[in-house]
């Protein structure tokens, strides 16, 4: 099944009206005709040849097709397989990212985060890879804790006194995910 990353770009397909209009408004380029005297020849409006039907249908279709292809490509299409991946032997991957920056010290923020993290680890099954990433003064990233070690690690988390960098944390998480 085709999916579009930028479906709004499909609106550009309305631009097929442009070649249509161009063909409808097309005035034929007049062919040269040698004439003895232009004395009584007056310039006149050249009739629009495509007034009733577009001229040069194959060329028109080609231009419409070109616009459609451009719209299609602008929409960034991708093919998504209908079949679901086989997950029997695949384990879940859980990453816990906990902010240890000083702001977490206020209003019991860190304690709540730890509680939530512990709830998640309880719900987690044994097939899961669990990773913990924290960020404060330094960024910690680790995977494959044992359940007890993980809980112990979470419970012992304390906030830092210097500003953390969430971006570094996310990058770390990506590296850990790739290492699994």
């Amino acid at each position: 099944m085709i999916e579009f990353a930028q479906p709004a770009a499909l609106w550009t397909s309305l631009a097929i009206g442009l070649p249509l209009l161009a063909h409808m408004a097309y005035r034929r380029v007049t062919e040269k005709f040698y004439f003895p005297s232009l004395r009584f020849i007056r310039p006149s409006q050249i009739p629009r040849m495509g007034k009733r039907r577009p001229s040069d249908i194959p060329l028109l279709l080609l231009r419409i097709l070109l616009f459609l292809v451009i719209s299609f490509l602008l929409a960034d299409p991708s093919w998504k397989s209908e079949t679901l991946p086989i997950v029997e032997n695949q384990r879940d991957e859980v990453f816990l990212a906990i902010d240890l920056s000083p702001s977490m010290a206020g209003w019991n923020g860190l304690e709540e985060a730890k509680e939530k993290a512990l709830e998640i680890t309880k719900e987690d099954n044994s097939n899961s890879h669990v990773g913990l990433v924290t960020f404060g003064h330094s960024t910690l990233g680790k995977v494959n804790f044992g359940q007890v070690n993980l809980n112990s690690k979470i419970e012992n988390l304390t906030h830092d006194w210097t500003r953390g960098n969430a971006q570094v944390c996310l990058l770390k998480m990506q590296l850990l995910e790739n290492s699994l």
């Binding site: 009584f40 050249i46 009739p47």
Partner: protein, 124 residues
């Protein structure tokens, strides 16, 4: 021109007469003399009479660089009216100096047309 003519002569002019019609009658004034006759055969292409069948053309002057883009169906009526007026005016001007005008088209046999015309004149 008269000086080179014999005592009695018929002068036949072949042209489209599309230019210089104002001076032509004056040049043929010798036709008023009983010794000379002038016959002007205007030879035109059928397209010069009715305009070619085409939706639009770029008319290019044969003896110049001028070009005019036009649609024959749009100007045909006016063109024919102008042409008819021109030929009538030319005929009047030539008649005034006793010259005769006959219009022929290039798809006609010129020799046959000339013989027919002369035969008709002789019958008169």
């Amino acid at each position: 021109m008269i000086s080179g003519l014999p005592g009695r002569a018929m002068v036949v002019f072949l042209s489209d007469f599309l230019e210089a019609e104002d001076n032509l009658a004056e040049k043929l004034r010798f036709s008023l003399s009983s010794r000379y006759e002038s016959l002007c055969l205007q030879v035109l292409d059928p397209d010069e009479i009715d305009l070619p069948d085409a939706d639009a053309l770029r008319f290019a002057e044969l003896e110049g660089d001028r070009e005019v883009s036009s649609s024959p169906p749009a100007i045909r009526e006016r063109y024919k009216s102008d042409m008819t007026g021109f030929v009538e005016n030319l005929d009047d001007n030539l008649s005034a100096v006793s010259a005769e005008l006959e219009t022929l088209t290039t798809n006609q046999d010129l020799g046959y047309a000339l013989r027919r015309f002369l035969g008709m004149r002789n019958r008169k």
